[in-house]
């Protein structure tokens, strides 16, 4: 049993290793995404810094620091969650594009092991990217992290990753069923999540029906909790009201997403949608 489990972990590692190798070979693109991420977050932080000028109101330094950090937490956390979501969602689409999908699906690897490897890679990638973005911004801009509770933040990101993994496995099904439109649909899902989850503003400002969507988006809780942890230094024990909904969404969405994925795989094999040329 133990040997078998470690065997599966070894297999999952094959995917992590492959993703790292790919990342190195596509380094120029990785650089593009990182620069893009830095520029986005930096711009948002600068909007915060410019708040007194834009609004014509006087703000004291502490208020301003708080405002900047509020925006920055949203921006970087969204980058993190977005990378997890995109990488897992693109599991099928990417390999279709590379032309390797049939080889991956033919290999003697359980789908759960394959997906585990891909999810771990995407969390690693998201962590590396967000850390680089944050570090770079700290070089450019004064950011007040004196109250930040790093432990609470890490716990929230971990919980958030789980919830997003479930969602994105579900979204990964679209490209399997609809070769081209599928990925487009998945991106729409992601965009809606961005809109309703209070990434840059409190969800209270949303119209009522959007707030209903916010309730089922795990990002709402993760970002709310992250703000409490990084801006106000909340202990993890004080964040339970943000942790449990995200955990619950993960507990529901992971098994559901996995089921959907396995179902879609069989459907694709029945209808010849995995790949047809040759």
């Amino acid at each position: 049993m133990i040997a078998r489990l470690s065997g599966q972990i070894g297999l999952a590692y094959a995917f992590v290793d492959r993703e790292v190798a790919l990342s190195k070979r596509y380094w120029a693109w990785e650089l593009v995404w990182i620069v893009y991420g830095i520029v986005t977050s930096l711009s948002v932080a600068l909007i915060g810094r410019a708040a007194p000028v834009i609004s014509g109101q006087v703000m004291d330094e502490a208020t301003l620091d708080r405002f900047v950090l509020y925006l920055l937490v949203g921006s970087i956390a969204w980058r993190f969650l977005g990378i997890v979501f995109e990488n897992v969602t693109e599991v099928i689409a990417w390999e279709r594009w590379e032309g390797t999908i049939e080889y991956t699906f033919m290999a003697p690897v359980h789908r759960i092991t394959h997906l585990l490897g891909m999810c771990v890679s995407s969390v690693i990638r998201a962590s590396v990217f967000s850390t680089i973005i944050l570090a770079t911004i700290l070089l450019f801009l004064h950011v007040d992290l004196s109250q930040a509770n790093a432990l609470s933040a890490l716990v929230l990101l971990a919980v958030g990753s789980l919830a997003f993994i479930g969602l994105s496995m579900g979204a990964a099904v679209f490209p399997m069923l609809w070769t081209e439109k599928g990925l487009q649909m998945a991106y729409i899902v992601q965009a809606v999540v961005l809109l309703v989850s209070g990434v840059y503003y409190p969800v209270d400002v949303l119209p009522g029906w959007m707030q209903a969507l916010a309730v089922i988006s795990p990002a709402t809780y993760v970002i709310h909790g992250l703000r409490a942890a990084l801006v106000d230094g909340a202990e993890i024990s004080a964040l339970w009201s943000d942790v449990w909904p995200a955990l619950l969404i993960g507990a529901i969405s992971i098994p559901l997403g996995l089921r959907a994925f396995l179902f879609a795989e069989r459907y694709a094999k029945r209808t010849g949608r995995l790949k047809r040329s040759g």
């Binding site: 049993m1 078998r4 489990l5 065997g7 599966q8 070894g10 297999l11 590692y13 094959a14 290793d17 492959r18 190798a21 790919l22 070979r25 596509y26 590379e98 032309g99 390797t100 049939e102 080889y103 991956t104 699906f105 033919m106 290999a107 003697p108 690897v109 359980h110 789908r111 759960i112 092991t113 069989r266 094999k269 029945r270 209808t271 010849g272 995995l274 790949k275 047809r276 040329s277 040759g278």
Partner: protein, 282 residues
């Protein structure tokens, strides 16, 4: 959950058998994708039964669109048959999918790789999926690639920089790395120049001789079918219309060349595509 499924695999094949593959009445139909053909279905594989003996090289010969690739995909668990049964070394491909996957490998027409990764990186990755340790993959990979005439200094270059012929050789090396007991080769030499073609053919024969491998290949090259196969199956419009050694096929059709036999059995030339639907990408 997934771990439990493996239980049956380590218990050895259900019955020791000298049959590598047995297909019984396999049918696979697809929805036609043309505009006015919305509800039409194409029987890509239309009731094929065949057996491949252990250690044999079995060649499937058929025109474009006759259903060869579909059959290979059915055998390699990439497609699910509508009806019929397939067993590979006694394992049912549906019920014992994981056991079957461990025993087979397939080379597709187009060499499908992570194009930016090197030949060696691709081999090491593929090896890992089949439980071959990276160090061993590197060792074996180097040997196989050199045997196929790919210089050591090219092993670490991104694959997209290699010629089509070289890529196809790496694809074959990748399949062999995992030491499959049944190797499915879908048009392994299509698109290669004469020299590479010969090299790949020689390699395939060598592998069978040295590694107790069984090989099922498809081709629409008469010469290749003759040169490589112990037995040939002729596929036409999704049906297996004849099967046997070259000599048997010639005697039965009462002709002197395989080309004539093909014409006699199918009523058309090998170069004429089976047109049961809209043309599709080769």
């Amino acid at each position: 959950m997934a771990l439990v499924i493996e239980r049956t695999i380590d218990q050895g094949p259900p019955a020791a058998s000298d049959l590598a593959l047995v297909a019984k009445n396999v049918v696979k139909a697809f929805h036609a994708s043309g505009k006015d053909e919305k509800n039409k279905r194409i029987r890509a594989v239309d009731g094929i039964s065949l057996s491949v003996l252990r250690g044999e090289i079995y060649g499937l010969l058929g025109a474009n669109g006759s259903g060869k690739s579909t059959l290979i995909r059915l055998f390699s668990t990439l497609l699910e048959a509508d009806s019929g049964q397939v067993t590979i070394f006694g394992y049912d491909i549906r019920d014992d999918e994981m056991a079957v996957k461990r025993l087979i490998n397939r080379v597709s027409v187009e060499a499908s790789f992570f194009k930016k990764l090197s030949a060696m990186e691709n081999l090491v990755y593929a090896g890992r999926l089949y439980g071959v340790a990276p160090a061993q993959s590197r060792l074996r990979g180097t040997k196989i690639l050199e045997r196929l005439g790919i210089d050591a200094k090219r092993h670490d270059e991104p694959l997209e920089k290699l010629s089509r012929g070289m890529q196809q050789k790496v694809a074959i090396a990748r399949a062999f790395l995992t030491a499959p007991t049944l190797l499915l080769l879908d048009e392994p030499t299509t698109g290669l120049d004469i020299r590479s073609k010969r090299e790949v053919q020689a390699f395939v024969r060598e592998l069978r001789a040295e590694h107790d491998a069984t090989i099922l290949l498809t081709t629409h090259d008469l010469e290749e079918a003759e040169r490589l196969s112990d037995r040939i199956g002729i596929v036409d419009r999704g049906k297996l219309v004849a099967e046997g050694t070259v000599a048997e096929l010639l005697t039965n059709a009462n002709v002197s060349t395989l080309e004539e036999a093909f014409m006699g059995l199918t009523g058309h030339k090998l170069e004429d595509a089976d047109e049961r639907s809209e043309p599709h990408a080769p």
